[in-house]
């Protein structure tokens, strides 16, 4: 069967089971958009290529399947770089296809030529420049394999226009020939044995679960490990929901804005059972002072993460899907005798729970309150997506996460503008779930044009803007560390008019200024199923995120909210 390169590309994507592509066409990718008309693949036309990338990320996180984005060359390729970089640090499997000028023009500074493989080399797991149509099925098969196996991540296929028009004889590769790519899956049995032994003897152990646990889809095994041993679990920003927040062994989020108990449990631990986490500086604070007496078991599929930041006493390179059952199998049948440790933890939980001072009557709404109320009204299948800033931290702290894959945010890169397009991707991937966005006013303005996409494609997401009129997180740092010298952080709560914005983009807009209106408006939003909803929640400008470990400090120097200070 003879196919053009463009047809072969679309057919290869179909072979990979792709159902949805997020994209926007242009000159160099034009030939590929023609056979797309005859394909069952749904194409969602975004309004900016960064949106296509984040949507693919949201789709991937909501479904566990790779997200696909397709854009043209030059400015379109550079527009999607931010999303690729975001997917790289958060290990999200996406496949990005970029158009490229004809092979004969490459290197000549042709119209809309950029060195896309060069530009994206350091933010992709791998990328390919296709130089002949006969390579297409092989490259596509390799790309999906690389994106989804081992430590997942973004890959990019750069696709020159003339290759799209070449004719090739169709085939589908029976096996992949990637001699340099063999991710380790099985952990070393001796190491697993040692890990089990050290766990059995621990007095103050903590399970430190990171985003890798989410990617591996092993929430069940983590719960089993915790319940079998009685060891408490901290869930990083990327792992919220790995064990239900309501579970007695769940300690919440550690890190710069983690809760006191999670932060302090890591500090005092004598053993960290590190699962798919990478000792990010936002978790460790000053590394030298992090968990100073703990031995470390580090289980990760990426060998380079093990020992990168913190020396591992028991390094185990392998896929959690295979290592965890092996580890659990070797553990003693009874729970550990760690009652004093659990007692100490319970004490912290009672004395220093996550809390904020409720709004006095007539005062502005507290942002945390909005998060709590959205959480309280949420159905179990709800997916929460957030932007980056104070609202992100409040979302992670005050939403009750009861199941995995219900929380999508930009962790490692901290990309403002992530939320709206990522939510679109999540909703497309899991149309049966309700998708809520908790966004900042600053973040919203960066990618809100994708509301048009949501309206046009009937993707009914719900966006709660915690409108504090500021680039709030930056404002908080200026308040605390720059003597309240506010430099370029004021946005105004009234400009733009978010209600009109929502309406102009085909959605429904609400504005809420009183606490009493919060529940009713959430209820109303939950009843709208045919178009996007935007709620402009006017929240307290002066609210700060607590607890907080100031940058460069150790986690022992955690700063509690004012109303909890002075007791320690």
């Amino acid at each position: 069967m003879k196919l053009t390169g463009a047809q072969a590309l679309i057919k290869s994507l179909e072979m990979q089971g792709v159902e949805t592509i997020f994209g926007l066409p242009g000159g160099a990718i034009l030939p590929v958009y023609d056979p797309l008309l005859d394909s069952p693949i749904r194409h969602i036309l975004v309004r900016h290529e960064q949106g296509a990338g984040h949507a693919a990320e949201g789709y991937a996180q909501a479904t566990g399947r790779p997200g696909v984005a397709m854009v043209t060359s030059g400015p379109a390729a550079t527009n999607i770089v931010t999303a690729i970089a975001d997917a790289y640090v958060d290990s999200i499997p996406i496949v990005v296809i970029t158009g490229q000028v004809a092979t004969s023009s490459i290197g000549s500074d042709a119209f809309q030529e950029t060195d896309t493989t060069g530009i994206t080399m350091s933010v992709t797991k791998h990328n390919w420049l296709v130089t002949s149509a006969s390579e297409i099925p092989r490259v596509v098969a390799e790309a999906f394999h690389v994106a989804t196996s081992g430590r997942p991540g973004p890959v990019l296929i750069d696709f020159p226009k003339d290759v799209a028009n070449q004719v090739m004889e169709w085939y589908w590769p029976k096996r992949l020939d990637l001699p340099g790519y063999q991710p380790t899956t099985k952990g070393h049995p001796k190491m697993i044995e040692q890990a089990a032994a050290i766990i059995a003897g621990a007095e103050r152990p903590v399970i430190y679960a990171g985003g890798g646990v989410m990617r591996a889809g092993v929430a069940g095994q983590v719960l089993e490990l915790a319940e079998r041993t009685g060891i408490p679990v901290v869930t990083t920003l990327m792992a919220r929901g790995i064990i239900p927040d309501s579970h007695p062994l769940a300690l919440g989020m550690p890190g710069m804005h983690g809760c006191y108990t999670a932060v302090t449990a890591l500090q005092r631990a004598d053993l960290l059972i590190t699962l798919g986490a990478r000792f990010d500086d936002r978790v460790t604070g000053k590394v030298d002072g992090f968990a100073p007496v703990a031995k470390v078991i580090h289980i990760d599929v990426d060998p380079a993460e093990v020992g990168k930041v913190r020396r591992a006493d028991i390094p185990i390179v392998g896929d959690l899907r295979s290592v965890l059952p092996e580890l659990i199998r070797r553990l003693p049948a009874e729970q550990l005798r760690i009652a004093p440790w659990i007692g100490e933890i319970r004490g912290w939980q009672q004395r220093y729970p996550l809390s904020y001072e409720p709004s006095a009557s007539g005062r502005p709404i507290k942002p945390q309150y909005v998060v709590e109320r959205i959480s309280a009204a949420a159905t179990p299948d709800t997916i929460l997506v957030s932007g980056v800033g104070q609202h992100q931290m409040w979302a992670s702290q005050y939403f009750r996460f009861e199941r995995p894959n219900g929380w999508i945010n930009s962790g490692g890169l901290g990309t403002m503008g992530f939320a709206v397009p990522a939510a679109i991707g999540a909703k497309v991937g899991r149309p049966g779930s309700t998708v809520w966005v908790i966004d900042g006013d600053g973040c919203f303005q960066m990618t809100a044009q994708e509301l048009v996409t949501a309206s046009a494609e009937r993707i009914p997401i719900k966006v709660a803007i915690l409108n504090n009129g500021y680039l709030g997180m930056v404002r908080q740092w200026q308040e605390m560390f720059y003597e309240e010298r506010y430099s370029e952080v004021y946005l105004s709560p009234d400009l733009p008019d978010y209600v009109k914005w929502a309406e102009a983009m085909g959605g429904v807009g609400f504005r809420v200024e009183e606490e009493s209106e919060v529940d009713p408006v959430i209820e109303k939003a939950n009843q709208i199923h045919d178009r996007p909803v935007v709620i402009d929640f006017r929240v307290d400008t002066f609210e700060k995120v607590y607890p907080m470990v100031p940058a460069g400090s150790t986690n022992d120097e955690i700063v509690l909210p004012p109303h909890q200070r002075g007791e320690r």
């Binding site: 990637l178 380079a304 020992g307």
Partner: protein, 189 residues
């Protein structure tokens, strides 16, 4: 006269302190862009490459990079683990400098007038070099030597007056096992 303003001062390129350098022999797929990926990885992660030699192997699908890396900048373990993550990197072996033969090649044009000329020729003789080009008052020499000895030659040549100098990256292979000498009473330790 040749313009000498671009000449790298002697001492600017020296063998790194013994024990701090490691030699990595990296087998990679012979594809476009692979060298760029390796170089980018080093610069992105803040590692230093001291010298680099690249050539295809006897199997044309593969190339071998021989890299001398400065392990002050990062642990060798991190460097090799990160390198291994590159899809086109197939195999990395560390060549222990004390257990390897290491060579570099050098081309140098030196001033060689009058009585200097004989001294230069003597140096070539002493260090098994070769005169590869002859000019009226200059000579171009070639030396292939272990890096330390090449440093010595370079220093001598500077005395005569270096006009231009070019050294290659280092290549290295592990030392071969030697037969064990036996005496009547058994093995010599």
């Amino acid at each position: 006269m040749t313009d000498r303003s671009n000449l790298v001062p002697i001492g600017g390129i020296r063998t790194p302190v013994e024990g701090r350098h490691h030699i990595l022999s990296v087998l990679v797929e012979n594809r476009a862009g692979v060298l760029a990926r390796v170089a980018l990885l080093f610069s992105r992660r803040g590692y230093n490459i001291y010298s680099l030699a690249v050539a295809p192997t006897d199997d044309e699908r593969f190339s071998r990079l021989t890299m001398v890396v400065d392990v002050e900048t990062a642990s060798l373990e991190q460097i090799t683990k990160q390198l291994h993550k590159l899809i086109n990197v197939i195999k990395i072996s560390e060549v222990d400098p004390s257990q390897a033969v290491e060579y570099e090649c050098m081309l140098a044009t030196v001033a060689a007038e009058g009585h200097n000329r004989a001294k230069v020729m003597e140096l070539v003789e002493l260090y098994d070099g070769e005169i590869v080009d002859v000019g009226v008052d200059q000579l171009t020499l070639m030396f292939a030597l272990p890096p330390g000895r090449l440093d010595d030659v370079e220093a001598f040549l500077a005395e005569f007056g270096l006009v231009e100098l070019q050294r290659t990256g280092r290549i290295a292979l592990g030392k071969l096992p030697k037969p064990v000498r036996r005496t009547k009473r058994g093995k010599v330790s």
